[in-house]
């Protein structure tokens, strides 16, 4: 019944790949252990989603890509030219299974910042990577996390030393244009005490053959650190997106998630903050547009362990055509997390009678002295609103557009990076335009 009773790779394949990549023994061992787990573990249990019916077989095989030498070549891969001529920018590009370009601003390198692919980081900075790798999202959680840990490649490692404040966002472009090649980036971001960093990534794909984007993001915000993580997924119709994002947040540290789920294919994403430190905080903003026959299962989660920890989650989803979305918001407050404050809102707007959207807010609270709240709604465009706008001369199409953008506006307008806000706006327009 399950598509994955036979794993897409075996241990010989994993060992060979690890050797080809010149990985240290501890990495190879982790991959093999993960593969062994994958054979035993089940698929994750998702609310109201039969994920076993999705395309889960097309993991592809590792293929090496040549490094990119020229800006022109870079532009042809990712479609946009990163502002790489400017001295202050830091850019990394992954193409299929390999990171093909990295550039770290000189001033950041001088301060001890690391921004490179994960393979290089494991070789050159083992002490910085090893204590964190696979500790936020362990391979033993389910079959997806296990398979990812066995076959991941490329990826990004960010290390921000104590007290270092990075003003210009670090940018990563992750692009797949060869569906036969594994596309499984693993991102690790470590922000030491009182440091500050913004990381932005764009995930895109080309081609019509089936492929899985198997992705994990692990973020560690040490005491007093502030990490802002922004990601726009704009993967094609033939790509199944399986993505876990997780931040472990220490005392007085904070994580800010800005996520644009703008894929064209089936997507399962899980964005979680583990607020283990006292006074830690998390703020998650997610916007999502679903079109055609897309199936989506999007979860945002905050786990409160530390006292006076704070979380805020906002998700807005627009469902068109026959798209269906299950939007879960989970606020979990553990015993002992006194003074915790958690708030979440999920709203789904459906634009056609066949579109489906479920908003499932969940508050799981094991401590008395807390404050938590939720709001959720799912509905269609109010015909009274359309009538009102039309009665002023605005066409039906324009009225709908105003209302839909208006629905997303409270989140889009809160995005603190202007270029990102514009980019999201354009993507929303393009997805809703057709």
């Amino acid at each position: 019944m399950s598509v994955l009773t036979v794993l897409p790779v075996d241990s010989d394949y994993v060992r060979n790949m690890s050797n080809t990549l010149g990985e240290p023994a501890w990495v190879t061992e982790l991959r093999l252990a993960a593969l062994e787990s994958a054979a035993k573990l089940d698929l994750p249990k998702l609310e109201k989603t039969r994920i076993d019916r999705w395309n889960l077989g097309s993991y592809g095989k590792y293929k090496a890509e040549n490094r990119v030498a020229s800006t022109a070549e870079l532009q042809s891969i990712i479609g946009v030219l990163p502002e790489e001529e400017q001295p202050g920018t830091s850019v990394l590009v992954q193409r299929n299974s390999s990171v093909v370009y990295t550039k770290l601003a000189e001033d950041l390198a001088a301060k001890g910042v690391v921004f490179t692919d994960l393979h290089t980081a494991m070789r050159d900075h083992e002490k910085l990577v090893r204590p964190y790798f696979l500790t936020a999202v362990g391979y033993e959680e389910n079959r997806f996390t296990a398979l990812h840990a066995a076959i991941w490649n490329g990826g990004v490692f960010v290390y921000v030393p104590r007290g270092v404040v990075i003003d210009v966002p670090l940018q990563a472009y992750l692009h797949s244009d060869d569906p036969e090649a594994t596309f499984a980036p693993h991102i690790v971001i470590v922000a030491e005490d009182n440091s500050k960093v913004t990381y932005v990534d764009n995930r895109t794909s080309a081609g019509d053959d089936k492929l899985i984007h198997s992705a994990v993001v692990e973020i560690f915000a040490k005491p007093g650190a502030h990490v802002r993580f922004a990601s726009i997924h704009n993967l094609g119709e033939s790509v199944t997106d399986l993505c876990y994002r997780r931040a472990v947040v220490d005392n007085d540290a904070s994580i800010e998630w800005i996520v644009g789920e703008m894929n064209h294919g089936d997507s399962m994403t899980d964005t979680s903050s583990v607020l283990r430190g006292g006074g830690s905080s998390s703020d998650a903003k997610v916007i999502n547009v679903g079109t055609k026959k897309q199936r989506l299962n999007l979860t945002t989660r905050a786990v409160h362990i530390g006292r006076n920890s704070k979380s805020q989650m906002l998700t807005r989803a627009v469902m068109k055509d026959e798209a269906s979305a299950i939007i879960n918001g989970i606020t979990k407050i553990e015993k002992g997390a006194t003074g915790a404050f958690g708030e979440q809102t999920e709203k789904v707007l459906m634009l056609s009678p066949k579109a489906r959207g479920d908003a499932n807010p969940m508050l799981l609270i094991d401590e008395d002295e807390v404050m938590a709240g939720h709001a959720a709604s799912a509905g269609q465009v109010n015909p009274e609103h359309i009538h009102y706008l039309m009665s002023r001369g605005i066409t039906k199409e324009a009225a709908e557009k105003l209302i839909i953008y208006g629905f997303l506006a409270p989140i889009v307008s809160e995005i603190p990076i202007e270029s990102l806000e514009e980019q999201l706006q354009q993507l929303v327009e393009r997805k809703l335009g057709s």
Binding site: E384, H387, L389, I394, L402
Partner: protein, 275 residues
């Protein structure tokens, strides 16, 4: 610009199969102000909504033309662009759409593509009109009607009228929920728009609005049709004596419109539903 000529002939309209308007006849020319008065439930607001093309109402008979053009054949937005404007009793609140964006879209909907109003010009106009209506400039950037008080919504409707410069203006109980000062401001806004190029249809319960906006013609509506018409003196008599004498004169016992099993009436002292 030519004087508008707005003609309603034998208009019948139903909601959910119940006939409310039973044959309305009315002619409005540029420069004229017509007032429609009548007790609750007689079809006043149905007339306004039917003319604008609210999807809940079905027109079952009659003609409506503006300068000879068939209004009933037009979609709601086409009616608006042809020059019809309805200041609504309960305007929608729309999150995420700012007042300014909304009004600019409305203005641009009347202009050719490539000939949109410049932002600076628009803002200048908007600010000037808001000042006239004694509105807080901050309201331009608030979401459309969201969190506006009843009076602020009414001013916002008048603001739209002033910016869009329609040819036929229908005001549906623009005075309800307004205190006397707010009503004076709104009336001044309306009066500033009176011209030969514009006709008005003012729907109201109370004569007091007509102290500030002087009508040329007054019509009384009962049972979904106009039962009596006259000049401004008619409004004054209604204010002094109520509606009973009209009922007696035209031989009506129950003035309300629609089938009689429908017992529910909106109590006078409540506000309408929020969408």
């Amino acid at each position: 610009m030519t004087k508008p000529h707005f003609v309603i002939e034998g208009l019948r309209s139903s909601i959910e199969g119940k006939e409310i308007l039973t044959g309305i006849n009315l002619e409005i020319k540029g420069g004229e102000v017509h007032a429609i008065m009548g007790p609750n439930g007689t079809g006043k607001s149905t007339l306004a909504s039917s003319l604008m093309g609210h999807p809940k109402y079905e027109i079952t008979a009659g003609n409506v033309t503006l300068d000879g053009e068939d209004i009933l054949e037009m979609a709601v937005d086409e009616r608006a662009r042809a020059g019809l404007f309805l200041a609504m009793q309960y305007p929608s609140e729309i999150t995420g759409v700012t007042n300014a964006d909304f009004m600019r879209s409305a203005i641009n909907s009347r202009r050719e593509e490539g000939n949109e109003i410049s932002l600076i010009r628009f803002i200048r106009q908007l600010e000037a009109k808001m000042k006239e209506l004694e509105m807080n400039p901050e309201f331009a950037h608030r979401y459309l009607n969201e969190g506006f008080s009843g009076g602020e919504k009414k001013r916002n409707e008048i603001l739209q009228m002033m910016l869009l410069e329609p040819r036929i203006v229908i005001l549906d109980e623009i005075d309800s929920g307004l205190d006397i000062d707010a009503m004076k401001v709104v009336a001044a806004g309306v009066n500033s728009m009176r011209s030969e190029e514009r006709g008005f249809l003012i729907i109201t319960h109370y004569q007091r609005l007509l102290d500030y906006i002087k009508p040329d013609f007054v019509h009384v509506i009962m049972q979904g049709r106009i039962v009596k018409s006259g000049g401004p003196e008619l409004a004054e008599r209604l204010e002094a004596e109520g509606y009973d004498w009209v009922k007696e004169e035209v031989g009506i016992e129950d003035e309300t419109a629609g089938p009689k099993e429908e017992e529910f009436k909106m109590p006078m002292n409540t506000r309408g539903p929020k969408y």
